[in-house]
Amino acid sequence: MSEVLNIKSPKRTVFWLLVFLFPPTIGLGLVYYSAAQGLTMGFTNWNIISAPKWIGLKNFEQIWNDYRFWLAVSNTFFIVLVTVPAQIGLGLLAAVLLHRIKGKTSSILRFVYFYPTTCSVVALGLMWMFIYDSGGLLNQGLEFVGLESVRWLGYGNALLSVCVLIIWTGFGYISLIYVAGLAAIPEQYYEAAHLDGANSWQQFFYITLPMLTPTTFFLIVVTTIGAMQTFGQVYIINGRADSTLTIVQYIYEKAFTQFSMGYAAALSWILISFILILTVIQVRLQRYWVSYDI
């Protein structure tokens, strides 16, 4: 272990080590204790004030028969199914187009596309709430071209409107990652393909896309996990309306407005299982389409 300090005065070093590792050790203790507590809490009935009561699987039984839970599940999966492909598709498109132009324009555009990701979800949510408003920007535009206005946040439309906001916010981050991925593809591949007479489309489908599959895989996993936990956008835009209820929002509502801690803990375990299952499926499926060695 030559890379490690050779200790001259062990006592002093032990003292400093204890001091230095004190905060992270407390943190580790907290995290593991909390994870264990979260696991057992799901099997109790607890309102935080009185002592928790062990009730076995009753919470899970109740969840199974809870129509709002199923509503939250279907809304959340809808958000995942719409926003993940759309964000990644749009992000890839933007990245490929940005890669064609170099220099200042490209970096300004990347900067602008990425900007919403850095903004508070609350601020963006409020802005879009008024864009979707009955007299908002979108309806003004529709009126301007002579179309009827739409209730963007009405029961049937609200969920899709939220998805649009999520896609609008997130695709810039994705294109940023893709631009880095594109820059890593060796130029020679394109030169060789060009000499063999491949056109731009062929080059895209036979070189660019396969070379980007590891990036795409990473982005699918990350954005799916993010979309499964959608909260801020729906909370701001639609308040507590059931049309856009998501799982995290339901957990929040149960735990911190009704103080059904046990029920909410059981819900969060279900959410985690969903995320885990999705991730495992994605990891399993990657060998069919992700190429790590070209």
Binding site: P23, G27, L90, V122, W128, L176, I177, M261
Partner: protein, 292 residues
């Protein structure tokens, strides 16, 4: 390659073969899409910024893009009817303390795990890394009960303390950086009889300033933009951060939209400044870490 092709193509005379015209047509489509996306991203910001100077009456009547009368009342209301100054101070305090404290704690731990030899070091590191596997959603409720037991609910410390212990990712990230620093540096220092504390503070922390600042900037933005945490832990208006405060006042100002829009603009100004100042570090940090 393609761009080179296009460059040479555009320089050629117009009446050459068809493929060249096809490529430049592709170029036009590409640029149109880029401009379209640019417009789609910027218009909501511009529109909100303009609307935040509108009178509520103007906004509701919704006639045209530009207000008939520019007014600062909305911004005044943000700072008088909503205690925004207080909220910004809370937000800066929470995000600043949590990010700076957390990254320093992580850097110190990373130093111990990278450069000091002690029994159980490898085990400690794997216990740290294992916490990255635990989803934050599991910890939400138990953490709340801990803060409740410590009676820290409705204080900024409920949001700060959990971060002051350092994060697994930051520890791992900074440890990797410290491993790349040659050990000749501290060998000389040890010869001179320096303690590991002075080696850490005089040699290693200055050398990982770059990665540390990337982490601090990213964490600052994440904490500033956080909604769920402040919503859970902060109940009284005086304790709220701008994000929680705006969502709290959303109902009260439901009929005065421009005030809420002005509040939103105020809320994104600090992160925008940070982003403009450090955009290279932020993008670089995001690329390395993949964290959002």
């Amino acid at each position: 390659m393609t761009s080179k092709l296009i460059q040479s193509a555009t320089r050629m005379p117009r009446d050459s073969n068809q493929t060249i015209r096809k490529v430049s047509l592709g170029d036009i489509t590409a640029n149109t899409i880029l401009v379209f996306l640019f417009v789609v991203i910027t218009v909501p910001f511009i529109w909100s910024a303009i609307a935040s100077f509108q009178t509520p009456h103007d906004f509701v009547s919704g006639k045209g893009f530009l207000p008939s009368e520019w007014t600062l009342t909305n911004y005044k209301k943000v700072f008088t009817d909503i205690p925004m100054t207080r909220m910004i101070a809370n937000g800066v305090f929470i995000a600043g303390t949590a990010s700076i404290g957390g990254v320093f704690a992580s850097a110190i731990a990373a130093f111990c795990l990278a450069k000091v030899n002690f029994k159980g070091r490898a085990l400690y590191l794997s216990i740290v890394i294992l916490t990255m596997m635990i989803p934050p959603a599991v910890l939400l409720i138990p953490f709340y009960t801990i803060m409740y037991a410590l009676s820290l609910i409705d204080t900024p410390w409920a949001l700060i303390l959990p971060h002051l212990t350092g994060s697994a990712f930051a520890i791992f990230f900074l440890r990797q950086h410290m491993l790349t620093i040659p050990h000749e540096l501290h060998e000389a220092a040890t010869m001179d009889g320096c303690s590991i504390a002075s080696i850490l503070f005089r040699i290693y922390l200055p050398l990982v300033k770059g990665p540390m600042s990337v982490l601090i900037i990213l964490n600052f933005m994440i904490h500033w933009n956080d909604l769920l945490g402040p919503l859970i832990y902060l109940n009284s208006v005086e304790q709220m951060t701008p994000t929680a405060g705006l969502s709290f006042f959303r109902g009260q100002f439901a009929s005065e939209y421009p005030v809420l829009l002005a509040g939103s603009i105020v809320c994104i100004v600090p992160t925008t400044i940070v982003f403009l100042l450090f955009n290279r570090q932020i993008r670089q940090g995001l690329l390395i870490s993949g964290l959002k």
